[in-house]
């Protein structure tokens, strides 16, 4: 198998390398990839949509239909992850670990034992022992708000600078994951629950598809944001810019919720009680 694979892939590599030598070189401005469709986008995106960032314009406007289904793909991935992993059964015979916060003494309480529910003095910790680290927690406390503000900036300013819903959503999701890594999963779920994530995820897709249907309701094509001009009180070109923003917010919400939900389920193998 190993040798066969090596032989197969070296033949394939040689064939591909032979084919690649016919390609235009790196950075050739007259390469076929940059000479048919993309000049239209480059020349017209600003006048069509009033969005200087062509990537955002193409993503959410010209190829809006594609992006909608990309959002649905990641939504589906989150749902698949839940269906594959999520369990509500408590683990059969497990012990729980608690830490006395003042002294740092850890308690191991077997199943059936009395657990300290006085959370003022004891905190539950993961059974794979994690040391209490003040430096990590304090740093995360300081950094996470800035990460989240930056994420919102990336979503909202995607028209004028590199950014948009996908990027901002991932950064926002990463901040939640960072919180879960430096504190623990239970506390993260207390702040941003599973239901909340599922709602945000569905709401993001709904905002996207709803914008498209709203355009249809205003007697235009699906996702043709210029139909929203009357709603925003602007001209059709600016309406497309605003429509892109709405759609990007929806994408950002969906992506953030999907990332968080994937993390919750993968980190705890669907049990949502403990995990890195």
């Amino acid at each position: 198998m190993k040798r066969g694979g090596l032989v197969l892939f070296s033949i394939m590599g040689l064939l591909l390398a032979w084919g690649v030598l016919e390609f235009p070189g790196l950075g050739d401005p007259s390469s076929p990839a940059s000479s048919h469709l993309s000049p239209y986008y480059i020349q017209h995106s600003l006048t069509d949509t009033a969005v200087p960032n062509m990537v955002t314009a193409v993503l959410a406007d010209y190829r809006g239909y594609d992006t909608m289904f990309e959002t649905i793909v990641i939504f589906t991935a989150a749902i698949v992850c839940i269906f594959l992993l999520r369990t509500f059964k408590p683990p059969a015979s497990r012990y729980r670990m608690y830490r006395h916060m003042a002294t740092g003494i850890t308690l191991r309480i077997e199943k059936g034992g009395k657990t300290p529910d006085d959370s003022e003095h004891f905190e539950r910790i993961d059974s794979v022992w994690v040391p209490h680290d003040l430096v990590i927690r304090t740093t995360c406390r300081m950094v996470i708000p800035f990460i989240q503000v930056f994420a919102l900036y990336v979503i909202a300013h995607g028209h004028h600078s590199p950014g948009g819903g996908f990027q901002g959503g991932v950064i926002l999701g990463a901040s939640v994951v960072l919180f879960a890594v430096c504190f623990d999963l239970r506390r993260t779920i207390r702040y941003l629950g599973e239901k909340m994530c599922a709602l945000l995820c569905a709401l993001g897709v709904l905002i996207y598809a709803g914008t498209g249907i709203l355009c249809m309701g205003l007697q235009s094509n699906f996702l043709d944001y210029s139909a929203l001009a009357g709603l925003f009180g602007t001209d059709p070109v600016m309406a497309r810019s605003h429509g892109i923003l709405i759609v990007e917010i929806g994408v950002g919400m969906a992506v953030m919720a999907v990332m968080v939900m994937l993390y919750y389920n993968l980190a705890s193998a669907g049990r949502h009680d403990e995990g890195l």
Partner: protein, 144 residues
């Protein structure tokens, strides 16, 4: 040597992506550990993303964000040579997110396999499956 200068050097990036892609494919097909297969899948996706991004490059061009635009209504001509191709960036932007989604689903499947078989080695999983079918067949023939 001249061939190298004229033909290979401007296309060296493509050769690197071919190597990466084949590395990923090799990992997916030959490695017996599911985790390594998932890593191979990700390397493959990364190679394809890099390939698409490199087709967007233009010498002497800048990022596809129109600079110094007057706020809306200006119809200054934009020269396509000044900006790199935005289309591969758009496609790969969504591809990266979809790659993360597929990675999540793949990891979920690996975790599920581990829960069911307590191993993520393909050989042992297949062995267990074969044993189960053997037992089931034996039971069936016993009932007959």
């Amino acid at each position: 040597m001249e061939i190298f200068q004229i033909w290979v050097l401007p296309r060296l990036n493509y050769l690197i992506y071919i190597f990466l892609m084949l590395l990923g494919l090799y990992g997916m097909l030959v490695k017996r550990n599911y985790m390594k297969k998932v890593i191979g899948l990700n390397i493959l996706q990364t190679a394809i993303i890099l390939f698409f991004i490199s087709t967007a490059a233009k010498i002497g061009a800048t990022i596809p964000i129109i600079a110094n635009h007057e706020h809306h209504g200006s119809h200054a001509a934009v020269n396509a040579v000044q900006y790199i191709n935005p289309l591969p960036h758009v496609l790969m932007l969504t591809a990266i997110v979809v790659a993360v989604a597929t990675l999540g689903v793949a990891l979920a499947m690996v975790i599920r396999i581990y829960q069911l078989f307590s191993t993520i080695e393909e050989d042992q999983v297949l062995l267990q499956l074969r044993r189960e079918t053997l037992v089931a067949d034996a039971k069936e023939s016993f009932h007959d």
